[in-house]
Symmetry: C2
Subunit: 705 residues, 2 copies
C-alpha cells in the first residue's frame, strides 16, 4: 500500500516528465525545419506557406532568433484565444465538440471536488476508525481520508448517501444542459453550412437484381415510380465501374440524388419496399466519410457478421490472456535459441539473458495492447458499417468495453478477466457489487498513479508528436523530391476517437465512482481534464486535420457512457455500504439508478433524433431559402460526380499529375501552385471562409527574422 | 405425487365436464330464444333476421323439431367448412390470424410429440433408475417416463441434447414460415382492402401552442409549409369541440389528412420538427380503434407515466400477495360479525362457519385474479397509448409476465413470488436455472392437471357463453322494448386478446419446456390446441364481433414470446443437466440460445417492419391504381368527418333516434330497418361484400319448421 509520500514521489516524477515533454516541444516547435510537423493544419488550410523562402540556409533549419527561446511557453495562452465559433469554422464541429468533453469534465468535477473535499474528507477523517489499527496492516494514509475510515453502522453514511444524490442530480443537470447545447450546435451547424452533397443524397443498399436490367436501370425505375417529384438520378460512378470491371463485381448499391433536401429526407427516413431487407435507404455519409469496401455487403450476411464480431469481442475482452500466454510460452529463450542458433553466444551472456528473460514475456502483451485499437477497427470493418465515422464510433465502443473490464474491473478485482467472469457467474447478483465495492477504496492509490502516468505524462507526450516528427524528417531526407512530395510527407493526423474517447470515458468513470468513496482522487482528475484541454485545443488548432465531419455524431455515446458510469457508481456504493452493515441504506439508494435510467430515457427521446434524423421542417426551410436566393441553381450539375469511387479519383489524380509533369519540363512549380492543388477536390464544396487569426500569422513572422 | 391413476381420474372428470358443457351448448343453441346469444355475428353482418316471425308462440321460444336434437354435434364439422379467405372477409384478419396461432401449435407439437414419445420415452423408461426406489418415495409413475429416470452421468443425455437441438431447429423453421405467411397476409390484406380513411390520415401529437393562433391554424400553417403537395386539412372535429367547450380543454392533437397514401406514409414515418418532442406524427389508428381519452397526454408526462406503470406492474407481479393477505386478515369471520352483527346467529352455525372459514380467505384472491386483466388494462391506459389495439397488446404483455412468474415459476419453485425474487437475488446466475431445472420434472403432473382444468374444461365453458346468455335473457325480460333495444342487448363479445394470448403463450411455454423433460405432457397440450381451435373457430364465425381491426399487429409479440419460451427451455435444460452431473454438456447447449437469439434478430429485421411501417412502394402503387380507376374521386369529401370525437357521434345518434321516434308515432319499425341502422356509421366505409355461406342459412331453416 502506498503512503502519501509514495504518491508524492510518483507525482513529482510524472510532473517532471510532463514538463520535460513540454520543454522539448517548446524548443522543437520554433525550429523552422519542424514547422510542417507542428503547424500542418495551417499549411493545409492555406494560412501558411513554406518557411524556407525567406532565410539563409542555416536559418531555414534552426531558429536563430534567441528572443523566441525566452518566450517558449507562449503557445498556452495562444491556444485559448480562438473562440468556439472560430474553432468550428477552422476545424469542424467534431473537433469543437470533442473539446467540450473536457470542459464538461471540468464543469462537472470542479464543484464535486470542492464539495467532496470540504464535506466528505472531514467526515471521513474525524471518524478515525483506522487510526487504531497498526501501520503494518494494509492501510495507507489515503485510506484515512476515504470512506474506509468510517466505522460500520455509523450514521455518518448519510453524508455519503446525500452526496451521492447531490452529485447524481448535478451530473444529470450538467449532462442535460450539455446535450441540449450540442444538439443545438449540431442543428445550427447543419443549417448554417453551405449546400452539401450529402444533404441531397441517399445511399440505397440491397438493390434487388432484376434479370435483363442493369442495377442502374432498376434503381432509376424504382425511384422514378416511387419518388416521381424529387428523384434526379443515381450515379454514373458505379455505372462506370461496371464498364471497367467484369459484371460480377457490380455492387447492389447506389447513391441516389434528389432535387431537394426534403425529398432526400423523406427517402432516407421511410421504408421503401414490401420486403424490408431490400431497398434499404439511409442518409449518405459525406463523400470523404464513405468506406467504399463495405458498400456491397448483403443484408443476410450483416447479421451473421455482427454475431461473429460480438462473440469475438466478448472473447477478446474476457479471454485475451490465453493466446498471449501461448505466445509467451513460445517466445522464451529456448525457443529463440532453437530458431536462431547463431545468437546463442550472445544470449548466454548472463546480463543479456536476464534482460531478455525479463523483457520477452512482456513483449507479447505490449504488442497486443499496441495493436488492440487496430484489431477493434478491423472487427468494426467486418461488421459492415459504411461510414468511417461509424467505424470509429464502433471501435471506440469495443475498446471501451475492453478498458472497463480489464483496466477498471481488472485492477479492482485481482485475477484475469476470465477468472473474474467465472467467479461472477457463480456469485449472486447482489454479491457482485459487494465484492467490487469493498475493494474499491483500497485501489484508490493505484488509480491515482494511473491517472498521473496515463493522464498527465501521457497527454504531455501527445503534443511532442515524436513519431510524426521522426517519420517526417526521414521522409524529407530520403523521399521528398518536389513540394508536392513534401505535402504528402506531412502527416497532420486527427483526433484519434477510437482511443481517446474510451480513455476519456474511463476518467469520467473513475471520477464519478471515487467522488464519494475516496474524494482525494478528484483533484488528480481535475488536473487531467484541464491539462488535456490545453493540449488538445492546441493540437486541434495547429495540427490535426480531420478526415471527415460527422457533426458531433459521437455525442450520444459520450452521454450514455457517463450515465453508465453513474449507474456503476451507484451499484458499487450500494455494495460497499452493505458490507459496512449499513444495509438499511439500500432502500435509500435504490431510487437513484431508477431515476438515472429514467433521465437517460428522457434524454434519448428528447435529443437523440437530432443526431440520427433530419427534420422535414429544417429541410423545407433550407430548400425554400435556397430557391429564393439562387433561383437558377442547377442542382443536377452540382451533384454530378460527387460520389466517385476512389478508383476513379486516383485515375483522375494521376492524369492530373501526368499533365503537370509534361508542363513542368520547362518550369519548376511555385509553392503556391502546389498549395492550391492540395485541398480536398472542389466538388466537395467546403467553403471555409476562415482566415487564420492575425496573431497566428503575426507569431509566424516573429519566428522568421 | 400423483400416480397414473390419479391423472386418469382427473382426466375423466375434466373430459366429462367438458362434454357436459358441449352438450348444454348443443341443446341451448338450437332453441330459437337463444339465437341472438349464439349467432350474434350473423345478425350484425345482416345474414340473419329475427327467428320470431315464422312460428307460433311456443315455437318462438323452444325448438320443437326433434330431429335437430339428434344431430346436435353437427356444429363441429360446420365450424371447419369456412375457408381462411372467407374468415378474413367475414371476421377480419385479426381473427383469422388468431386462429392460426392454434394451427401453429398443432403444426409445431404434432411432430415433436411423435418424436419425443417414440425416442425419448423408451430412452427414459429403459434407464430405470427410479424402479429401484421404493414406491413411498416422492416418485410418481409419470417420473418413470421422464428425464428423472435417467441416471446421472449417463451418456443417454445425448439423446435429450440432440432432441433439444432438433426441436429448436424445427420450431424456428415453423416460426419463420408462419411469420413469413402472416406478414404476407397482412400486406395482402392492406393492399386488397377498399379505400380506408386511416391510410390517408396521420395523428399528430404535441402540437405546440402558438399564442394568438388556434391549434387548427397552427397545424394548417405547419403542414402547408412542410408538406405543400400532399396536405389536405385537419379536422373540424377538434375545432367543433373548441367551440363547445372552454378553451382550456383544447387538445394539442390533430388528425391530419393527406391527398394520397404516399403523402401520409411520408409524414407518418419522418421526423417533422427540430424538437423531436413536438409534432409527433404516427399512423392514425382506424376510427373505431382510437382511444380518445389518451390523445391529449403531453410528451413529458408519458415517460413519467411509463416509469410509474412499470414499477407498479413489477410490484403487482412480485408482491401481489401482500395486499391480498392484508384484505384476507380483515375479511375473516370476526371482522364480518363486527360489521354485520345481525348475521351472527347464522355464522355461528358450525356447518356455515367452517364453510365460510374455508371460503372467505380464498375469496379475496379469487376476486383479485378475476379483476387482474381489468387492472392491467387500466394500467395500460395510464401509460397513454392511443389505440385500443395497442392497449390490448400492452395489457396482454403485462398479464403474460404475471402468468410467467406466478403460474409457471410460482408452481415450480414453492413460495410466493416475493420469496422467489429474494432467493434469486441471492443466488448466482448459474444457480437459478439449476434450482428451477431440477424441480421441473417433478411438477409435470401438476401442469397436466392444469392443462386439463384450464385448457380442456375451461375452453369448453367458453362456447357455452353462460354470462352473456343470462344477461341477454334478463335484459330481454326487463329492458327490451323495441327491436333496436334487442340489438343493443345482444353482446357478441370479441376475442379477448389480453387474456387469451398470455394463456396461449403459457401453453407454448409448457410444451416447449417439457418436450425433452417429460414428453408425456405433450399429448395433453396437443388436445388443448385441437379442441380450442374448434371452439374458437366456431366462436369467430358465429359469435364474436371484433371492435377494431389491427391487421394482425399482435403477431410479432406471439413470435417473440415463443422465442422466449425456447430460450427458457434451453436454460432450464442446461440447469437440469448440470445437476445430473452432465456438466460437460453445457458447452454443447450454450450454442443454442445464441443461435436462437440470432434467429430472432434476423426475423425482427426481416418481418417486423411489415407490422410497423407502410412501404412507400405499396402506397404509391395503390395511389396510382386508384387515380386510374377513379379519376373523379373527391378524397377531401371522403375524409371529412372520418375522425369524429365520440361526443359528436353520440349527439348525432341521439338526433337520429329523436327523428325516428317522431316518425314512429304512426308506424312500427320493421326489423329490416333496425338491422340496417346497426352497422358502423357509413363514413367508415367497410365494404364487406361477404354473404353468409349457404350451408349456414340452410341450417337455420332446418332449425325452423
Amino acid at each position: 500500500m502506498a503512503t502519501l509520500e509514495d504518491i508524492g514521489v510518483s507525482a513529482s516524477i510524472n510532473i517532471l516528465s510532463a514538463f520535460a515533454f513540454l520543454l522539448a516541444f517548446a524548443l522543437l516547435r520554433i525550429q523552422p525545419i519542424n514547422d510542417r510537423v507542428y503547424f500542418p493544419k495551417w499549411y493545409i488550410c492555406g494560412g501558411r506557406t513554406s518557411p524556407r523562402r525567406s532565410a539563409n540556409f542555416v536559418g531555414k533549419l534552426v531558429n536563430l532568433n534567441f528572443w523566441t527561446y525566452l518566450t517558449f511557453l507562449n503557445w498556452m495562452p495562444q491556444a485559448l484565444r480562438m473562440s468556439e465559433t472560430e474553432i468550428i469554422q477552422h476545424a469542424g464541429l467534431d473537433s469543437a465538440v470533442f473539446l467540450r468533453i473536457y470542459t464538461l469534465g471540468l464543469k462537472i468535477f470542479l464543484p464535486v471536488t470542492v464539495l467532496a473535499l470540504v464535506i466528505l474528507v472531514p467526515v471521513n477523517v474525524s471518524s478515525g476508525t483506522l487510526f487504531f489499527l497498526r501501520k503494518e496492516l494494509v492501510v495507507s494514509d489515503i485510506d484515512k481520508l476515504s470512506i474506509s475510515n468510517v466505522s460500520p453502522e455509523s450514521t455518518r453514511f448519510f453524508f455519503h448517501i446525500g452526496m451521492e444524490y447531490l452529485f447524481t442530480v448535478w451530473i444529470c443537470y450538467m449532462l442535460y444542459k450539455e446535450y441540449h447545447n450540442v444538439a443545438l450546435m449540431r442543428l445550427h451547424f447543419l443549417a448554417s453550412q453551405h449546400r452539401r452533397v450529402e444533404q441531397f443524397t441517399v445511399v440505397v443498399r440491397n438493390v434487388p437484381h432484376v434479370s435483363g436490367h442493369s442495377i442502374s436501370d432498376t434503381v432509376d425505375h424504382f425511384f422514378q415510380t416511387n419518388h416521381p417529384n424529387h428523384y434526379i438520378g443515381n450515379q454514373i460512378a458505379l455505372e462506370r465501374q461496371r464498364i471497367l470491371k467484369d459484371p460480377k463485381s457490380i455492387m447492389p448499391v447506389a447513391f441516389v440524388s434528389f432535387n431537394s433536401r426534403w425529398g432526400a429526407a423523406v427517402c432516407a427516413q421511410t421504408q421503401q419496399s414490401r420486403n424490408p431487407t431490400l431497398w434499404l435507404t439511409n442518409w449518405a455519409p459525406e463523400p470523404r466519410d464513405v468506406y467504399w469496401q463495405n458498400l456491397a455487403i448483403p443484408f443476410v450476411s450483416l447479421s451473421i457478421r455482427k454475431l461473429i464480431v460480438s462473440l469475438t469481442v466478448f472473447a477478446l475482452v474476457f479471454f485475451y490472456m490465453i493466446p498471449i500466454a501461448f505466445v509467451q510460452s513460445l517466445a522464451n529463450l529456448d525457443g529463440l535459441e532453437r530458431v536462431a542458433p547463431f545468437l546463442r553466444p550472445v544470449i548466454e551472456l548472463k546480463f543479456i539473458k536476464s534482460f531478455l528473460q525479463g523483457f520477452l514475456p512482456g513483449l507479447a502483451l505490449k504488442i497486443f495492447l499496441y495493436i488492440l485499437p487496430t484489431v477493434m477497427m478491423i472487427l468494426s470493418k467486418i461488421e459492415g458499417y459504411i461510414a468511417l465515422s461509424t467505424l470509429e464510433r464502433r471501435s471506440s465502443a469495443k475498446y471501451y468495453y475492453f478498458m472497463l473490464v480489464n483496466v477498471f474491473l481488472g485492477s479492482i478485482v485481482t485475477g484475469t478477466a476470465f477468472e473474474q467472469l467465472h467467479s461472477f457467474l457463480h456469485q449472486s447478483p447482489t454479491q457482485i457489487p459487494r465484492t467490487i465495492g469493498v475493494s474499491i477504496p483500497m485501489k484508490a492509490t493505484f488509480f491515482i498513479t494511473y491517472i498521473m502516468v496515463d493522464g498527465w505524462a501521457g497527454i504531455a507526450s501527445e503534443i511532442l508528436r515524436l513519431k510524426p516528427l521522426v517519420i517526417f524528417h526521414l521522409k524529407n531526407m530520403f523521399l521528398v523530391k518536389t513540394e508536392r512530395d513534401r505535402e504528402h510527407a506531412m502527416n497532420p493526423g486527427s483526433v484519434d476517437f477510437p482511443e481517446t474517447l474510451p480513455s476519456l470515458q474511463l476518467y469520467f468513470l473513475l471520477g464519478i465512482v471515487y467522488a464519494v468513496v475516496t474524494p482525494i482522487l478528484l483533484p488528480f482528475i481535475l488536473v487531467f481534464f484541464a491539462f488535456a484541454y490545453f493540449i488538445y485545443r492546441h493540437q486541434v488548432i495547429n495540427v490535426y486535420n480531420q478526415r471527415y465531419e460527422s457533426g458531433a455524431a459521437f455525442w450520444p455515446h459520450v452521454h450514455s457512457r457517463i450515465i453508465a458510469s453513474l449507474l456503476i457508481s451507484q451499484l458499487l456504493l450500494m455494495g460497499l455500504l452493505s458490507t459496512k452493515k449499513a444495509a438499511n441504506s439500500t432502500p435509500l439508494l435504490i431510487a437513484l439508478p431508477i431515476l438515472t435510467l429514467t433521465f437517460h430515457k428522457y434524454c434519448k427521446n428528447r435529443f437523440e433524433p437530432a443526431f440520427r434524423k433530419y427534420p422535414l421542417e429544417e429541410a423545407m426551410a433550407k430548400d425554400t431559402m435556397e430557391r429564393t436566393t439562387e433561383p437558377n441553381l442547377n442542382i443536377e450539375a452540382y451533384l454530378a460526380d460527387a460520389y466517385l469511387h476512389p478508383i476513379f479519383q486516383s485515375f483522375e489524380e494521376e492524369e492530373l499529375v501526368d499533365v503537370r509533369v509534361d508542363k513542368n519540363q520547362t518550369h519548376i512549380p511555385s509553392p503556391s501552385e502546389s498549395v492550391v492543388s492540395s485541398p480536398s477536390p472542389p466538388q466537395y464544396a467546403y467553403h471555409y471562409e476562415v482566415q487564420p487569426p492575425p496573431h497566428y500569422v503575426h507569431h509566424y513572422h516573429e519566428a522568421e527574422p
